[in-house]
Symmetry: C2
């Protein structure tokens, strides 16, 4: 169980090929298939010897005698560190993606949707996405529209250009004029404030202003909280992976996705570095995640508004492709959002 700097060049190459082959073919790979498929200038016997070494060092594993080798978490880790972390998405893929984004509405929701779909497609696995969550939201502007005698539609825009709507039910009938006047007053008062600041500054209101103001504040804080929801996409791809053929593994996956507990199991192990993070099998903190591999990155503007974006699949996962596409998407999303968020100074 010595560390990786003891790996010879040839061992590294063999390990690389084992991972690559196993990820592609999803079948334990033997010495023979390896020399068959790749122009190694050595014999299968030599490969076998090296495999034995690699196994002793814990990089690969055989499920039983006379079966091919399968990478261990450590083997994947080696592969990721040495061949995947630096990888970039092929230029034509980049172009293809940008093109798709150009064809879609300039709207956060559409972007998230598209990002999830693209990621899932590239990695052939489930993609994970959260809305970007501002650490704290500031009100930019809100509007009141009379729906009927007692119902009012509240539309609220934050400094980050998130639009939220809410309903407001009043005890008395109020005209659109009164509503507009009220909105004008309060907009002046509360512009640019966070929920907390607004709460402090508006203690002396009463009547309609009071009611509306409370509702605005509630909606504003809800904007912060409710964004912390993990959406997933592309289950159909994951189901095609042979790992999920027997319904037991598929069930595990769904249990993970359904409960909404996934995010809380994922978050604690994320550091705030801004590059890709990869967790393979038992590297995950939560046992529920041990059968899986996760590739995630944060995206957003500055450190103030960040969302999560990643891929979840079996341990046997195309890490190189996953990493490059997640990284690319994270950067793209950050770029796209900068437009909206730099409006802060307007």
């Amino acid at each position: 169980m010595s560390s990786e700097h003891e790996l010879t060049l040839r061992q590294r190459e063999i390990l690389r090929l084992i991972v690559k082959e196993y990820v592609q073919g999803s079948r334990a790979v033997g010495s023979h298939t390896l020399i068959d498929r790749y122009p190694l200038r050595i014999s299968s016997a030599t490969v076998r010897n090296e495999m034995a070494s690699l196994e002793r060092m814990g990089y690969i594993h055989q499920q039983h005698t006379s079966a091919g080798r399968v990478p261990t978490d450590r083997g994947y880790r080696f592969y990721v560190e040495n061949y995947a972390v630096e990888s970039a998405l092929p230029p034509n893929d980049q172009i293809m993606i940008r093109h798709q984004f150009r064809q879609v509405e300039t709207q956060l929701e559409s972007w998230l949707q598209l990002a999830a779909s693209v990621l899932a497609g590239f990695a052939q696995n489930v993609s994970l996405v959260t809305s970007p969550k501002p650490s704290v939201s500031r009100l930019r502007h809100f509007e009141l529209l009379s729906l009927n005698e007692r119902s009012v539609l509240l539309i609220l825009v934050t400094q980050e250009s998130t639009v939220r709507q809410g309903m407001l039910h009043l005890a008395d009938e109020v005209s659109q004029q009164s509503l507009s006047a009220c909105a004008d007053r309060l907009n002046l008062l509360m512009a640019n404030l966070t929920a907390d600041e607004a709460r402090a500054k508006t203690t002396d209101l009463s009547g309609l202003d009071r009611i509306v103001c409370d509702h605005v504040i509630t909606t504003l804080s809800a904007t912060q909280a409710s964004a912390t929801e993990l959406h997933y996409h592309g289950v159909e791809h994951a189901l095609q992976q042979p790992e999920f053929a027997g319904s037991d593994a598929a069930q595990q996956l769904f249990d993970l996705l359904r409960g909404g507990a996934l995010l809380s199991e994922l978050l604690p192990q994320l550091t705030h570095g801004d590059d890709i993070q990869v967790f393979i099998g038992e590297e995950n903190r939560s046992e529920d995640l041990w059968p899986f591999g996760v590739v995630v990155a944060t995206y957003g503007v500055d450190q103030e508004v960040t969302g999560l974006l990643g891929i979840l699949g079996p341990r046997r996962m195309p890490y190189e492709r996953s990493i490059s596409s997640v990284r690319y998407m994270a950067r793209l999303m950050s770029d796209l959002m900068r437009d909206l968020y730099t409006a802060r100074d307007a």
Copy 2:
């Protein structure tokens, strides 16, 4: 292959029990299990005779000699017509659902989400939902907010209280004052118009007004079109059904859901009646739907804004439960939305 009015009371009862038993247990049901499980005052031999009749009439089928019976499409149809169409959701379930709706934001998106989740849970299958689509959208009000020098955020509210946002990129720098003035002008001009009417009435605009106006019209028509998207929910439930254990059937299901073709295969067979519609197996027009059963209802206000709401599962589906829950949800959603849509006169 004679029609059902020839069924004796006893045959009807036996057929009913076969369907019930098979839906519950997902295993072909034999004469023995039937008299075992239910207090029929007849022997298994008699049941066998009746089963033979039912089979001759095409209500049930046996996969091979010496296997139990399984309902045919016709058998399910009989069950649905006679025992399911009238069924109502148990009162405590109704209360439970209403309670859940009370705990959620007064917002269309949240409602749809919850409705989908409830339906999927009740029927233990995939639920289908479309946003309510107005046959034609009228503008109520829009707003322009300067993001930065050249980017403008457009927020648009339709008469049905749907809120949409869009981005607008200008060639020249424009101040928030100019934007507000422009919005005021155009709001006066275009209020209460459909996209088409607005297009006709605003031919003589130019400059900023022209650009903004075009954008508003585009966004407005997009509101109509883009709502025609079918969302699904609760795949995890469906996967637990033994029908989808082998990945082949599951794959079929996902192919159906993914492509987005489902809606176009479903729509042509829907009539505009406002009650539940059920399609069992080969009753479906599209061959892709033959392995499945579908229960759908439209919801909405008047005939002008309608959405779709339903359940998709294997032919062996709890039709009674599905029908009652879909119907209940459709009514509930219609009720909930009436608030928003009756605001038309405001």
